[in-house]
Amino acid sequence: MNIPTMASLFAEGKQPEVLFWVGCAGSFDDRAKKITKAFVKILDKAGISFAVLGTEESCTGDPAKRAGNEFLFQMQAMTNIEVLNGYEVKKIVTTCPHCFNTLKNEYPQLGGDYEVVHHTQFLQQLLKEGRIRLQGGSYKGKRVTYHDPCYLGRANGIFEAPRKLIAKLDAELVEMKNCRKNGLCCGAGGAQMFKEPEKGNKDVNIERTEQALETQPDIIAAACPFCNTMMTDGVKNKEKEASVKVLDIAELIADAEDL
């Protein structure tokens, strides 16, 4: 894949329409990299001019902040803001709701003011503008349940964009017991992704996976690389990986379009 970087475009005196903030998971996690690639394929197909920061990207600081390390968070934030402002970035799209929330809500006060959108919002906008077209053939009749990532849904009120995209795929959207504002966490937020859970009688991702499986889905749709990991682990734990797939909305679309 040929992925333009901000540095290379800047050198040519060009400015992309949007910066794709890949995030740590999207850059390094084997599962999440597939989401990154699926999203890039859609961007290419739609002819969107975009670029990534590549080696100049660094953690937004979200897990550090939520673990309580405000120093590290602000160090990361200010360093990133310097890079972003250096390239005069106006608009950012990201496939990670944690990066999305941090960039959108916590960077402005520190001098980083950008229009930040989540990839589900971005894709829905493209669809509305007719820049991508979806034929839902391959998902017709499939049961899809959508897991609201906390930092996309409850934290930022984005519930409909991902659901509209699923509807466009002609899939049958089935809701879990806890959805939208009452969505149940996958267990990864607040830096939990990086530590062992406290003692309890169950892991949060198992609880959430059980809720998802109750809807008897063919696919559990996610919109966050961390939720994806947690739900995938949950499905494996329940030995359902043969019949239930955990896929990002971007993957669903890329797949429907045979990209």
């Binding site: 600081g61 939520r66 200010m78 929330n101 930022n156 406290e198």
Partner: protein, 442 residues
């Protein structure tokens, strides 16, 4: 002797309201022990939130059964209290049903108070059953043992007694009106209490007056008692829900405050021009503690939150950590904060207005680290709260203390933070490899 009842009433009123005022002052003093809070902008939106959430009960009805029952008790409480105004005037002036001149309107008022009183009784009984017989999960969690459980029931008993006294008073009054007793003008409609009046059949006028007066006195004394019970109870929410929803967070739930003092230091660290020796606060003041280990480190809105909590437990029942058996309960975070704040308040009272260190703090003595580290910061508790309390902000501030003042994060998190510091990702991957995915085939 003629004015003895008036005098006794005035004394009861002065004591009742006086003691309450004293405790309100204490409440305000305690809340002000908190740090300054940034209450940003848009007053109109804040008023709207208060009207919608506190007055309009919009978040209560998210759970329809509890919501409906609560609205009945809430409306009953507010509307029946119009009657208290008349009772106070009557008590002070020695009059009886001074608003009777309102005629039909008065009948409608008293009649609707009675119907509401009956509905309140039904709702209160339902609430009691939910707590004591059905034993709803959220009412029997560990933090509800002891006083909180008793407190919850006490409130219901008091409300029940007040409603019965109100109806008994009216029933006796109705009977007295029927037999044309002097002083008891024909006024009011008694759709509920007249059903009770057969109980009084055959009683002498004297006895009826005794019943009416006793119920009247116990009712108003009961109200004064209840008013003063508030400060010692979770029931304080009937007042504090209003300011609390006003000061509730307006930003998106995911947005967590950036600590300003940290911003200053980070700017200094990143600025190559900065003179590290120039700005070392030589004003003799101790640098502000990062995060919170005790209630004085929290801001006053967080302390107001703690006093406002009515321990309904909706937060805890929505908490993913609590649902999966972890120790964390957002309700307990709020209850602990209030208990500790009360302890600090008592300490100040006992030491002539100055807090004397008691070798205790909110962290460890009340809230354990295990609870704090179990939080996923998912905001389910914040969303669930019917009165805009934010338990998550307290959890975050306490984590900040643990990490920035004590370097006491779990070791896994220290690894994660080291990784971010060294290579800009929570995992040990090299920043120079960030674009490698583009070269890999699937």
């Amino acid at each position: 002797m003629q004015y003895l009842p008036n005098a006794l009433f005035a004394i009861a009123l002065v004591f009742g309201i006086g003691y309450f005022t004293k405790n309100v002052k204490k409440l305000i003093r305690n809340i002000k022990l908190g740090r300054a809070a940034e209450v940003k902008g848009d007053k109109a939106k804040r008023w709207k939130n208060m009207m919608r959430i506190a007055l309009g009960q919009t978040k209560m009805v998210v759970r329809p059964i509890a919501g409906l029952l609560h609205i009945i008790v809430y409306l009953g409480f507010i509307i029946i209290n119009i009657e208290v105004l008349e009772i106070i005037i009557d008590g002070l002036l020695g009059t009886h049903r001074i608003f009777a001149f309102l005629g039909v309107f008065y009948d409608v008022l008293i009649g609707s108070f009675e119907i509401l009183a009956l509905l309140v009784i039904v709702a209160v009984v339902a609430f009691w059953l939910r707590r004591n017989i059905i034993k709803l999960q959220r009412f029997i969690k560990p933090e509800m043992q002891g006083w909180p459980k008793k407190d919850g029931n006490w409130i219901l008993y008091i409300e029940l007694i007040l409603m019965f006294l109100f109806l008994t008073m009216n029933a006796a009054d109705y009977s007295l009106q029927e037999i044309g007793a002097a002083h008891y003008v024909k006024a009011g409609a008694f759709p509920v209490s007249q059903l009770m009046s057969p109980l009084f059949e055959g009683m002498s006028t004297q006895a009826l007056i005794a019943v009416e007066r006793t119920a009247w006195w116990l009712h108003i004394l009961g109200i004064l008692f209840f008013l003063n019970y508030l400060y010692f109870s979770k029931h304080l929410h009937i007042i504090l829900a209003f300011p609390n929803t006003f000061y509730g967070k307006l930003e998106p739930q995911g947005q967590m405050s950036n600590v300003d003092s940290v911003t200053q230091e980070v700017k200094l660290m990143l600025d190559p021009e900065a003179d590290p020796f120039a700005a070392t606060g030589d004003d003799g003041q101790e640098p502000e503690k990062f995060g919170a280990s005790d209630v004085m480190d929290l801001n006053w809105v967080q302390l107001l939150n703690a006093y406002t909590c009515t321990e309904c437990g909706r937060c805890t029942s929505e908490c993913p950590a609590n649902q999966t058996g972890k120790k964390l309960s957002p309700r307990k975070i709020m209850m602990d904060t209030r208990d500790r704040l009360e302890e600090v308040g008592r300490n100040i009272d006992a030491n002539k207005g100055k807090f004397v260190p008691d070798e205790k703090q909110l962290l460890d003595n009340y809230i354990s680290r295990e609870e704090l580290w179990a939080c996923t910061t998912c905001n389910a508790c914040v969303e669930a709260c019917p009165v805009s309390i934010d338990p998550l902000s307290i959890i975050l501030d306490m984590r900040r203390f643990l990490v920035m003042e004590q370097s006491a994060a779990p070791s896994d998190l220290n690894n994660m933070m080291n990784n971010i510091e060294n290579n800009g990702a929570p995992w040990p991957f090299n920043q120079m490899d960030r674009l490698n995915w583009a070269q890999e085939n699937n």
